[in-house]
């Protein structure tokens, strides 16, 4: 069961979830942004940045799949909408006003605006995709979202303004470690606050029993569509970060395999656990690289085979994922209360 209750609500306001800690966190991120590239090899730096993007994707998908219990398989679609729109905005701005590039502040502002625009566009699409969920549930919804993802991909494939099959290239590399992790922190913060609010409990009630929840007077439709739209917003932002990191986009990048990848992260971390999603996203991004020596050893790339086996075995052995529906700090709290201490006061 979900750890919903007054305990969490309190800790949401007084503990690690209070705003000032997050501002401090963002400060640390920007300090690291200046130092980290000097400190570690570009390879690990790149893995860390991509892990951050994956964190945004998996936490935002967790809101839909984990907390609301709606199985979305179209996250790559939202990501591509955000990615393409923000990349389109910056590339056309840079092309029409090249002088903007010389001003770092203008660059950052344009980038931030383009990310938000991308997120808003993805939200709009998420809203449209969310509408069918008024009538559908479970497997049907899964395949419809997958279908939407594919439709979005085909549309980009046929849009010449963003290059069609040839893709959009020459995107300015705006994405930095700081940008990614700021966005990741904001994502985790927003989604944490949402799921630990009254809205969040509506979402959890939809997951636990939609019919009962309707009977209790909850507007489940609204809850579901909101969850979809919000998940899509952050996926769109992640897409924008991804586009400005890779500097090139191609519709093929956003096929349903990418959605599956994010799903694996959410499932592995635990559907309904934000920290689980964070941990799993980082773990899987790192694992992918850690398994590279195996490829060099055996000569064949076994990574995807291992991934799919992990997914199956996980479902068989521990279907609730690493953390289930609890969070890392819950585990701490449990430990403390077992020792006989009072769990109050934001132990982390």
């Amino acid at each position: 069961m979900a750890p919903s209750g007054s305990n969490n609500e309190q800790s949401g306001q007084t503990g690690i979830m209070s705003l000032r800690w997050w501002i401090v966190g963002i400060g640390i991120v920007w300090l690291l942004n200046a130092w980290l590239p000097e400190l570690i090899s570009p390879y690990f730096f790149q893995i860390i940045v991509l892990a951050g993007i994956n964190v945004i994707l998996s936490v935002s998908l967790n809101l839909v799949n984990g907390f609301t219990g709606q199985f979305s398989m179209g996250h790559a679609g939202f990501m591509s909408v955000g990615g393409y729109l923000s990349a389109f905005i910056t590339t056309s701005l840079v092309a029409s006003h090249p002088e903007l590039m010389n001003d770092p502040v203008a660059g950052v502002v344009i980038f931030a605006i383009s990310l938000i625009m991308g997120g808003i566009a993805a939200t709009a699409v998420g809203y449209i995709v969310g509408l069918p969920s008024l009538r559908l549930r479970g497997d049907y919804l899964a395949i419809v979202t997958l279908g939407f993802g594919e439709i979005i991909r085909v549309i980009f494939l046929n849009t010449n303004a963003v290059g069609g099959a040839r893709g959009l290239s020459g995107i300015t590399k705006f994405t930095t470690f700081g940008a990614v992790y700021t966005a990741a922190l904001i994502t985790v913060f927003c989604i944490w606050r949402v799921v630990h609010s009254a809205h969040g409990r509506i979402l959890v009630s939809i997951r636990e029993d939609e019919i009962a929840s309707t009977a209790m007077g909850v507007n489940t439709t609204e809850g579901k569509v909101r969850a979809f739209a919000m998940g899509a917003f952050f996926a769109g932002v992640a897409g924008g970060l991804f586009a400005h990191y890779l500097t090139t986009l191609n519709p093929g990048t956003f096929d349903f395999n990418r959605s599956f990848e994010v799903i694996i992260m959410v499932v592995l971390g635990g559907m309904g656990s934000i920290s689980g999603s964070v941990v799993a996203a980082i773990m899987l991004t790192v694992l992918k690289e850690a398994l590279r020596p195996l490829q060099q050893l055996t000569g064949v790339d076994l990574r995807m085979v291992i991934y799919s086996l992990v997914l199956i075995i996980m479902m068989l052995a521990r279907p609730k994922g690493i953390f289930g529906t609890s969070e890392i700090c819950d585990l701490f709290r449990e430990k403390l209360s077992r020792r006989g201490k009072h769990p109050d006061g934001g132990s982390a």
């Binding site: 219990g69 199956i312 279907p319």
Partner: protein, 321 residues
């Protein structure tokens, strides 16, 4: 006019392929309410089984049948080719039934009591596993399916502008799809096994209270569904002689869309939906923009789910508390 007729023929033949896959899909969904994502991969395994059987044993089988029918192993006859094709299809069906049984036993049965989402995720996992293991096992390059019907000329009607061409293999696929649908209908509605399947599909717990061995029935359904996918794989391999490890995923998804269109869990609906989808794709390619062809199946799926979620021939089931 001839052009239009040709589109209809193309659409029906493409629909036949979808129908073969959709039949298995709809059976499994009907009994477990599970989108068996791995179904497309079983289809791929069927195609590979057929490929290797005909590569290594095809000539021997063909020779035997030729000798039986014409008295000489060298004289080619269409009858012998058809019989060989049927043997190869049977081999693939057996292998795929075994695969289906293993998948059900190892991956799906342990999860039967858990939420349906978990089953769905496992199905995605199994599908990914087969895709990637298939690439390692068979190699990722496309393989050419041996041509059994080399001497078979297409049937043509009219000439030049009004030429209408029918490929006998397409007719073979079409007839097989319809026949299998009729057999399945018979099994489901007129046999004890079918009655048990319907009961399990309606309610697992009640069915087992009535003394129906639910596990065996579900396993049997899976094996039937998978063997259908295997047959589909071989027939697609024969008609479109190119086999590769990733060939199953998109046709699988499209076939599922077709099954939903016709009313999921309903074998007649699956075939009907497949033909509609096939025709729609053919007409879109012919008169519209084929670049959107991949999106068509999903668009139809979304529309039908919004307008009539139970599909064309489906019955509405209300969910009770």
């Amino acid at each position: 006019m001839a052009e239009f007729a040709q589109y209809i023929i193309n659409g029906l033949s493409q629909g036949g392929t979808y129908a073969l896959i959709a039949l298995g899909y709809t059976m499994v969904f009907g009994i477990l309410q599970l989108i068996n994502f791995a179904h497309g991969e079983v289809f791929m395994l069927g195609a590979f089984t057929g490929l290797y059987t005909s590569k290594y044993a095809g000539l021997a089988i063909l020779g035997t049948f030729n000798r039986l029918l014409t008295g000489s192993a060298e004289t080619a006859s269409t009858g012998a080719a058809i019989l060989t094709a049927i043997v190869i299809i049977l081999v693939a069906m057996c292998v795929c039934a075994a695969v289906g049984f293993c998948v059900e036993r190892l991956a799906y049965r342990p999860l039967r009591a858990s939420p349906r989402i978990n089953l769905l995720i496992t199905a995605v996992g199994v599908s990914l596993f087969f895709q990637n293991a298939g690439q390692l096992l068979f190699g990722s390059d496309p393989k050419a399916f041996p041509d059994l019907f080399e001497n078979l000329e297409p049937w043509t009607f009219g000439a030049d502008e009004n030429l209408i061409v029918i490929n006998p293999l397409q007719v073979f696929v079409f007839i097989t799809a319809i026949t299998l649908m009729l057999i399945l209908r018979h099994v489901i509605f007129h046999t004890r096994l079918g009655r048990a399947m319907r009961a399990v599909s309606f309610n697992h717990d009640l069915a087992s209270l009535m003394g129906i061995p639910t596990n065996q029935i579900i396993a049997a359904t899976f094996m039937m569904g998978s063997s259908l996918a295997g047959a589909a794989g071989v027939m697609v391999g024969m008609t479109y002689p190119k086999v590769e490890p990733l060939m199953g995923s998109l046709p699988g998804l499209k076939a599922f869309c077709a099954a939903v269109l016709g009313g999921i869990g309903n074998v007649t609906g699956a075939v009907l939906g497949s033909f509609i989808l096939g025709l729609a794709e053919a007409l879109l390619s012919g008169y519209g923009t084929p670049t959107y062809k991949d999106a068509l199946a999903f668009t139809i799926l979304i529309l039908i789910l919004l307008v009539k979620p139970s599909g064309l021939l489906g019955v509405n089931r209300t969910e009770k508390v």
